[in-house]
């Protein structure tokens, strides 16, 4: 367990081989001094620094870096050494002192990375050098103590204080060595301005380490004074990969996992949290150029799943972006209102132009905030639009709109898709950015195509006759899509059309012969179909509850069933209504779904009895309507039904394929 040390606190060290990890907000120089019993350094040989990184039992990094790992082997220390001080210093040009940076953090860890003790060096201000920790010998055992002693005069003062006569020369030498190491290193890539900027920006801090990486590794392997030369590289119990030389702060795939928090690593093991350093000649992205969106840029096992997740990701992003915009505008409105109220209630403002000026100022503040919010929203919408332009053509038939060219190459699928597109969604802020509304299959709830509501969103009046026809056509388009995306024979559509009012709209389904039976007409037809489906639900439920789904009668049609009910409640008696409710409640669990084409007003004769039925169904409209809410913020989204382009034969062609596959099946 980690001991979090406070200044002056000490902690016993049970291991001799240690690593000291340093993390600071900016590149710092790490050094160490070996002191005798009085804590004095015996000449420059007693200091490990970037110019002379290796001492017996001790090695430091050759350059300044934001993250350091110092290797320490206490057993390899000469007997005269009683104290090892770990120092941090800002490079010569790093003016301002530690107070201007994030608090440095040092941790003593074992070779396996477990923290033994850690110390956050707080309270530094103008100091540019600090003694962070001290490892010291006490009655034969080593201990660590948190020091945190800063020196405003930098390394020179620090070393002088430790009794080194040549402190100033050495401090100058260290700065020289650091400057040389910087000159050798790979230049930092230009910061990118897109969303990945933060990840990219992590690289420059590591950049200085790249150049010294090889030499540092070599230094660890070659000089006989290295603390690890006594160790057999392939020795048992000492996995080579744990060696600090290979695990150094400069390793571009590793640095983030060495966060000072502890052993838990939240990052995905294969996801790179920092971008690999780009070749210096070719920067990865032009500044100001956002990364190009790619279709399928989401998680998933298959392209289909990735696209599904991507579309839902875009849906959420747009919902969130609009929420940010709307809350900013609301805030601006309420602030302006408050300020105007203040102006009005202040009697002084009525004299002269003061009131007008205040009013204008309030208006200007309001406009500025709204404009800022609009700019942010426009940026987000532009990004999503670009993504949508890439994603849309890549969508497979179940996700594609009817005007997509993928329907031309339509083949009856072999497998059930993940989801199906039931329409498009958009927000008033971005009417041109349409998000496909993808619903998982098999359906969890039935659909209700609302044939009520005379007025559509754009104000054009649609009379009730047209509305019913449109509703039925929408229902047919949904049914055709469902038929098309299910494998042959695994989806059966029944139609109840008591008055025969939907015959014209149903023609594509009837003509191609994809229906299980011709649409049922009249009261007798209604009760016959309902009875059949009710019986089926009973049967399957019994089999499932009895744990014997295999014992269904031979030849039993196991496909999913969809019942389209046109013109409800015409032709329905009380008994039929009850059966319908039963189907709505129990059907989805056993693969029987309802698609009601109905006007709720007309069904009010049944009273509140049917309210649960409407609630159980997903309401869709034949004309654009803003009634659907997203699951995150609850915006009202405008739903647009899928429209088959007028004059297009795509529906007939697709249904023809389905019918052909069915007979072949």
């Amino acid at each position: 367990m980690t001991a979090e040390l406070v200044r002056g606190q000490n902690h016993p060290l049970s291991q001799a081989r240690l690593e000291i990890r340093v993390s600071a907000g900016a590149p710092v120089v790490a050094a160490a001094t070996l002191g005798d019993e009085q804590g004095r350094i015996n000449g420059v040989e007693g200091v490990a620094h970037p110019g002379a990184p290796t001492l017996p039992g001790l090695e430091v990094s050759r350059q300044a870096a934001a993250e350091h790992r110092l290797a320490v082997d206490l057993d390899a220390m000469p007997d005269t050494v009683h104290r090892v001080s770990v120092l941090l210093a800002l490079p010569a040009d790093g003016a301002g002192g530690f107070g201007a940076l994030a608090t440095p953090f040092v941790a003593v860890t074992g070779l396996d990375g477990t923290e033994i003790a850690s110390y956050t060096i707080t309270g530094l201000q103008a100091e540019s050098a600090v003694v962070a920790l001290e490892l010291y010998r006490r009655q034969g055992a080593w201990k660590v103590r948190a020091i945190g002693q800063g020196y405003a005069g930098g390394l020179a003062d620090l070393l002088t204080d430790q009794g080194l006569a040549q402190a100033h020369q050495l401090a100058a030498g260290i700065n020289e060595a650091v400057a040389q190491a910087v000159a050798r290193s790979v230049p930092a890539p230009p910061p990118r301005t897109d969303g990945d900027r933060s990840r990219q920006a992590a690289a420059p801090a590591l950049g200085p380490d790249q150049g010294g990486q090889a030499s540092q590794g070599a230094a660890g392997a070659v000089p006989p004074t290295s603390p690890y030369t006594t160790q057999n590289p392939g020795g048992p119990g000492q996995p080579r990969a744990q060696s600090p030389y290979q695990d150094g702060a400069g390793d571009p795939t590793q640095p983030v996992t060495s966060a000072p928090g502890g052993p838990i690593d939240y990052s995905h093991p294969r996801r790179r949290t920092t971008a690999p350093p780009p070749p210096p000649t070719a920067p990865p992205a032009q500044p100001g150029q956002p990364t190009r969106p790619v279709a399928g840029d989401a998680t998933g096992w298959s392209m289909e799943e990735r696209l599904y997740n991507q579309v839902w990701g875009m849906f959420e992003d747009l919902a969130r972006a609009a929420a940010a915009y709307r809350s900013a505008v609301d805030f601006a409105d309420s602030r302006m209102e408050k300020e105007l109220d203040q102006v009005l209630s202040d009697p002084r403002s009525r004299i002269g132009g003061q009131g007008d000026a205040a009013r204008e100022a309030a208006q200007a503040k309001h406009d500025q905030l709204v404009n800022q919010a609009r700019v942010t929203l426009d940026r987000d919408v532009a990004q999503l639009t670009a993504e949508s332009e890439v994603v849309d053509p890549a969508l497979p038939p179940p996700y594609a709109s009817w005007d997509s060219p993928v329907w031309q190459g339509y083949r009856v699928p072999m497998e059930l898709p993940m989801a199906v597109r039931l329409g498009d969604l958009h927000l008033p802020e971005s009417p041109d950015l349409r998000i496909p509304m993808l619903i998982r299959l098999p359906l969890e709830r039935g659909l209700w195509i609302d044939s009520g509501r005379g007025g559509s969103l754009d104000g054009s009046f649609t009379d009730s006759h047209d509305m019913r026809r449109l509703a039925m056509e929408t229902a047919v388009a949904h049914a055709a899509r469902l038929l098309a995306v299910y494998p042959a024979g695994e989806f059966t559509v029944h139609v109840i059309d008591p008055a025969g009012a939907g015959a014209q709209s149903l023609a594509p389904l009837v003509r191609t012969g994809v229906l299980a039976a011709p649409p049922a007409v009249g009261a007798a037809g209604v009760s016959e179909v309902l009875a059949r489906l009710t019986q089926r639900v009973d049967l399957v439920q019994m089999a499932l509850r009895g744990g014997a789904p295999d014992s269904l009668p031979p030849g039993f049609d196991t496909s999913q069933q969809l019942l389209i009910v046109n013109d409800f409640p015409h032709g329905f008696d009380d008994r039929a209504v009850n059966q319908l409710r039963y189907l709505a409640d129990e059907g989805p669990a056993v693969g029987v779904h309802l698609m009601m084409v109905a006007d709720r007003e007309e069904a009010t004769g049944y009273g509140p009895l049917l309210d649960p039925l409407w609630r159980a169904l997903l309401r869709l409209t034949p004309v654009p309507d803003d009634h659907l809410a997203d699951p995150w913020v609850g915006h009202a989204w405008t739903y647009e039904p899928p429209v088959v382009p007028s004059g297009s034969q795509v529906l007939q062609q697709v249904l023809g394929h389905v019918a052909a596959a069915r007979t072949g099946y």
Partner: protein, 188 residues
């Protein structure tokens, strides 16, 4: 980082911080024998309150895990704490670049939902981390921090074009962030 100290979240290379994480970790209460269910578990909660012009606009806590605009996300409620090894048991991620323009301050708080004071909690800490590289920006040890049930950790606020973080570290008492509102307001 010490109390009251402010650090700019501009990086030394000129780029500014884009994502910070407020992490909270503590050690679960030890179980006592067979009647383990009788030991009181310790539930600390991290919250972030978003302010626009000193008005609370949105809050991210265990019952509202994502701010409406999606820029602040809570990783989920932990009711009992961890093994005390230093990892974060709860975390709030803030995507500074995506915060709506009118939000100018975000205050981070820690509350003891089960009512134990920080004296009774083992190995509790909270810290602010640069999410992009794991760099720790500030760290408080809560254990032994006194007879308080809450702490107002820090605030991140807009300055010029970037963001600045100020460590507050003010102790307070309360079960959820709502109880802390009177204590937060003076810091805005």
């Amino acid at each position: 980082m010490t109390k009251g100290q402010a650090i700019s979240l501009q990086k030394s290379d000129g780029g500014s911080l884009t994502a910070v994480r407020m992490g909270l970790g503590w050690q679960a209460a030890p179980r006592r024998g067979l009647f383990g269910s009788r030991t009181r578990e310790i539930d600390l909660d991290a919250s972030a309150v978003l302010f626009a012009d000193k008005q609370p606009v949105d809050v991210v806590f265990f019952r509202h895990l994502v701010s409406d605009d999606g820029s602040v996300r809570h990783t989920g409620d932990n009711l009992v704490g961890g093994v005390g090894q230093g990892g974060d048991d709860e975390a709030i991620l803030v995507d500074l670049a995506r915060i709506p323009v009118h939000i100018d301050q975000i205050v981070f708080t820690v509350n003891s939902f089960t009512g134990q004071t920080f004296q009774e909690v083992q190995n509790a800490f909270c810290r602010l981390v640069d999410e992009t590289n794991g760099q720790e920006l500030a760290r408080y040890t809560l254990a032994g921090g006194g007879a308080y049930t809450a702490q107002i950790m820090a605030k991140v606020h807009r300055t010029g074009s970037g963001w600045t973080m100020t460590a507050l570290g003010t102790p307070a008492n309360g079960r959820t962030f709502q109880d802390l509102m009177p204590a937060i307001l003076p810091h805005l």
